[in-house]
Structures are given as C-alpha cells and as structure tokens.
C-alpha cells in the first residue's frame, strides 16, 4: 500500500513541479507586465504544492530522500508527471490551454483529497484547492477572451486546444488503490471545461488520440531538456549552499 501511495503522491508532486518549471519560463517574457506577474505567481503556487507533495512522497518511501533529492537527482524515466505539463509552452494560447486543463483537473482532485482519509494529503488538498481555483479562473478568462476575440486569436486558441486536448486523457487514468481515483474526476472536468469552450466559441476536440505513459516514466523528448536546465546547478555542484 505504501509503495502505491508513494507512486501516487510522487505523480501529483511531479505534475506540480514540472508545471512550475514550465510556467517560470515565461518570467520576463510574457505578453504584458500583469501577465508576467500572474504566471510567476501561479508558478510559485505550483512549486509550493510540489514541495509539500514531494516532501511527503520522500517520507512515504522511507529511503531518506527529501524534496530536493527527488526534484534534482532523478533522471527522466523516474519522473511520474503527466505528459501535459512537460509539453513546451508554445505561444500564449498553448500555455493557457495547458493551464486551463491542468487546473480544471487539479481543482477537483485537491478538493477530493481534502476529504480523503490520508491526513497529510487532506491538509495539502485543502490548502492547494484555494490556489487552483484562482488558476482555473484566470486561465478560463483567457480561453474565453482569446477564443471569442479576433479572428487570429480564435484561430490560435482553437489550435492550442486541439493540440493539448489529447493529453488530458492521461490525467484520468484509473487508479482504484489511490486515495482519490482520478477516473472519477473526468465527469467534473468535462462539466467545467465544456461550457467555457462553448462560451469561447471553440470546438471541443474529438477523443481519438490518447497519448500517455508519464505515470509509468515514459515521457516525451521535452522532459529531458527541461530537467537538464532545472537540475544542472545541483548536479554540477552537489549539495552547494549559499
């Protein structure tokens, strides 16, 4: 049971960590100052959740690995994040599509964790859901603005949704032994996402292509590059402090 729980918590921690790293790439490069601050703030929230989850995962494993060891000293095949979060940022529409789908999954997930039997996960869920609600609010605002905006913004937002949508299926892969089975969150996710897409005059993509494998450590080629940048300092100077 503890090994299963370790994998589950590690997956959620890795989702948040890799999402934080990707969002952080926008810092100083966002389309406007306010958005730069918003993306950095959201990245910080994700990092905060990642630290709590990875710390707990390390304790469950019982092998003496702390949050830093898990974040900086694992190779790509040892990461358990979903593919969605490791995908490149693309243009602003792709970033917003990724954040929209991620937060529409994380919000009900954290909400369900808040009521689960595991005390630590319940505390993390109760804390993180408040922040996820802001992320969902912010990203759905942009999806509506861009989708129902100009011809060009509509075209790019639709392309972004089409590109990212297949990666949402992996989020809801069944895990009946987990404190919260992600399969049970799919209906709520669709009930959140579909009205926003409709209001944004966007078409919900079909469900034919369903890439996955992240939870088993099988990633896209993008993760290795992300990790190389995230881990380089720690690997070059192990244990360095300042």
């Amino acid at each position: 049971m503890s090994a299963d729980l370790f994998d589950f918590v590690l997956g959620l921690g890795d989702d948040a960590l890799i999402a934080a790293q990707r969002l952080g790439e926008w810092t100083s490069r966002a389309p406007e100052m306010e958005e730069d601050i918003a993306l950095a703030n959201i990245a910080l929230d994700q990092l905060g959740a990642a630290r709590l989850l990875l710390t707990y995962a390390g304790e469950l494993e019982g092998a003496g690995r702390d949050e830093d060891a898990l974040a900086y000293l694992r190779g790509d095949r040892e990461f358990r994040n979903c593919l969605l979060v490791e995908l490149p940022n693309g243009d602003f529409a792709v970033t917003m599509a990724k954040l929209f789908f991620l937060s529409a999954y994380q919000l009900p997930l954290y909400d369900a964790l808040a009521g689960c039997g595991d005390e630590r996960l319940a505390a993390i869920g109760a804390k993180a859901r408040k922040e996820s609600a802001y992320h969902l609010d912010h990203s759905s605002l942009w999806v509506r603005r861009l989708g129902d905006g100009t011809e060009e913004s509509h075209r790019r937002m639709q392309e972004a949704v089409d590109q990212v949508w297949p990666y949402t299926h992996e989020l809801f892969a069944a895990d009946p032994a987990a404190p919260v089975d992600p399969a049970g969150l799919r209906a709520g996710f669709e009930a959140t996402v579909e009205p926003v897409l409709t209001e944004a005059t966007l078409t919900r993509p079909g469900d034919g292509f369903t890439p996955g494998g992240g939870r088993q450590g099988l990633h896209t080629e993008h993760l290795s590059f992300l990790l190389a940048e995230m881990q380089v300092l720690h690997r070059a100077h192990p244990g360095a402090r300042w």
Binding site: I37, A38, I42, G48, R51, A126, K127, Y134
Partner: protein, 158 residues
C-alpha cells in the same frame, strides 16, 4: 522574560511590514512543552509557495531568543488552511492605512454572495477596478481607483 506569546505575536510580516503575523492570522499557537520547557510556535503559510516563510521562521526564533527563549521551536502546519477571514480588525485597519485594500469576507457555500465594492484605501471611493488579478506578492491583486486615479494593492479574499 517577556511572555513568549507576546514576543511571537509582535513579529511583523516581512513582505507587508505594517502588520504582525498575529494580526495576519498566520500565528496559530504559542505553547510551552511541559516536558522540556521549550516554547513551540506554530505558524501556517498564507499561500503554499509563500517565499517569506523562511524569513518568518527566522524572525520568530530571533524574537523568542531575545525574549529569553533561545531554544524555541517553530512548526509549520497546513491544516486548517489559512483564510483572509483570520485577519484581525486591527490588521485590516493597518492594511488600509498602508494603502492596501483589505479583503472582503470569503464567500461561503450555500450563502447568497454579496459582492462589496473594493474601496480605494486612499480616498475611500467605491469606484475602483481591477488591473491585474495577481500582484507584487502571492496574496495581493493590483487595483486602480477611478476617482483619484491611484493604483493600489488589494489583499485577495482566500
């Protein structure tokens, strides 16, 4: 020796330096371990990624050391999750005086929400608008007053 509760409660928030951690509601308890006699201070973060937590922990330890408790322990808890409803009335008044509009009460489920205008902390006008949902720290949003044209921070209800 200064009362440990008073010493911890007087520590100011490092990012909003007009308000104490007690007024902000992040100081959860100050207790003395009956077995060891050590003071145990429990705090909770506003946001999970709040970068001020390390500074707050260090400031609490320093304040307690100065009050005669050099071996005080600072614990961090995440449950129950912090809410802006925990900010005290004196805290709200200090935020407002510092040009930061305090948060409205958090909406409760099954209660009809009453949307109150965010008042400009400088001129008091309710004619204000949100510029950005995120601000200089995780807990703030950026607003602007349409009456006096001044931009101001607003502590987001959470």
């Amino acid at each position: 020796m200064v009362n440990p509760r008073e010493a911890a409660a007087a520590v100011v928030d490092p990012e909003i330096r007009v308000i104490t951690i007690d007024e902000l509601g992040i100081l959860r308890s100050v207790e003395t371990d009956p077995a060891t006699g050590r003071v145990v201070v429990t705090i909770t973060p506003t946001y999970t990624g709040c970068p001020a937590m390390d500074v707050i922990r260090a400031d609490v330890r320093r304040a307690l050391a100065a009050a005669g408790h050099p071996d005080a322990e600072v614990r961090t808890v995440y449950s129950p999750a912090w809410s802006t409803d925990w900010i005290s009335d004196s805290g709200r008044a200090k935020l407002s005086a510092a040009g930061i509009a305090p948060p409205a009460p958090v909406a409760r489920p099954n209660v009809v929400p009453l949307t109150l205008a965010v008042r400009c902390p400088r001129c008091g006008s309710p004619e204000t608008e949100q510029v950005s949902r995120f601000g200089s720290t995780a807990c703030k949003a950026l607003w602007r007053c349409r009456s006096c044209s001044e931009p101001f921070d607003h502590l987001k209800a959470l």
